[in-house]
């Protein structure tokens, strides 16, 4: 029996396919278990880095990664990281998401106890490269426009992009993306205002 003859047999085809499917699943399972820990660690480090980025230096003397409180926001649960100084909550850090042009834009923001934004960063998005990706701090400093803003400043009707007669710039060729980020931040501030007692308590 040579390989050429066996290869033409009808039973050879499903067996071969099955073997390759098994090998592929095996390879994926191996790769997944080999990389799982490292990926989780890298993502935790990313979270810590980005949390430290939205929080001004010296705002916290606790490990805010472990000082969390979970709150319901609609259907979803939002984890809030609390930055304390001498045991008193000084700022809350949490993620909000809003639908952008191509998918959800995940935004991380820090709010102080007066309801003022301390910093905003986009964590994850799938917006058009070259157009919508200016919301990343690496590509444009637009996202820093939110620093120091609160629900009263600018007034609620001014919380929008300039096209919608708001105060925030849009980008040439991309209005939906910045509009979504503005909406996300505003929603975050409203969420904080509604749950302030639970967060600082």
């Amino acid at each position: 029996m040579n390989l050429e003859a066996i290869r033409e047999k009808i039973a050879y085809q499903p067996i071969l396919l099955g073997i390759f499917a098994l090998l592929a699943s095996g390879a994926l399972a191996l790769a997944s278990s080999a990389t799982g820990g490292a990926i989780a660690a890298a993502e935790a480090k990313d979270l810590r880095d980005s949390l430290s980025e939205v929080l001004p230096q010296g705002m916290a003397d606790n490990d805010f990664l472990t000082d969390t409180v979970d709150l319901k926001k609609g259907e979803k649960t939002v984890t809030i990281y609390r930055a304390r100084q001498g045991g008193v909550v000084k700022a809350a850090l949490f993620k909000v998401a809003e639908r952008g042009y191509a998918g959800d834009i995940q935004v991380l923001m820090a709010v102080d106890t007066d309801g003022k934004t301390l910093g905003v960063r986009v964590l994850k998005h799938v917006e058009t490269p070259g157009l919508g990706d200016k919301i990343e701090v690496k590509k444009d400093k637009w996202i820093k426009d939110f620093d120091g803003k609160s629900l009263g400043d600018p007034s609620p009707e001014k919380w929008g992009v300039k096209k919608d007669s708001g105060v925030f710039d849009q980008f040439a060729g991309a209005t939906i993306t910045p509009r979504a980020v503005v909406k996300a931040v505003k929603g975050g501030l409203e969420f904080f205002a509604a749950h302030k007692a639970e967060i600082t308590g």
Binding site: R7, F20, L28, A31, A34, T35, I39, P129, G130
Partner: protein, 223 residues
Amino acid sequence: MSESYGKLMKDGLWENNVVFAQLLAMCPTMAVTTSGTNGLGMGLATTAVLVVSNILVSMIRHTVSSQVRIPVFVVLIATLVTVVDMAMNAWLHELYKVLGLFIALIVVNCAILGRAEAYAVKNGVAASAVDGLAMGLGFTGALTFIGLIREFLGSGTLFAQASNLLGPSFAFLEMKLPGYGGALLMILPPGGFAILGFLLAGKRVMERRLEERAAQKAELAAA
């Protein structure tokens, strides 16, 4: 297999270039060539996958029957890309954050299956590896070139954010044309098609000129 490696390289880089001659992989070509850096990143990641997939396909080419070769190759390539995706996410996390978006796109790059079908399944492991490398580098060159043109016309920069991809020591590549806002059309898909069209036409003209010159030479020699 009598083909020399030099011929393979020339084929991949110019004569049978994935983008400019085979017109394959148009989807990633249009999607990522909004800047030179994006094109380069996508090209390099694709090259890596292409070399490994060509080697693997060539290794199993006697075992796989022609009836089921396509699903086998598709499973192989998809597995490979997923493993590369996970490995990069775990161990090259900084690079992954820049390239991550592109990696999964490689699965649907028909140039990879195309090379498996057209070359690796009929040729030895070493030749297939060289073919993958040549095709990959040709693809990388094409994407980077289109990306640079679109980026220059569209946003007035060259290799913007190259240091994110290649490391801070490559920051010198980044250039910006001062006082030029850019023509947005070039960044949008129509610009991509227009640029590609002009480049294809240019390549044809160049090849015809070369042919004519060669014919003239032959005539002179005959006379």
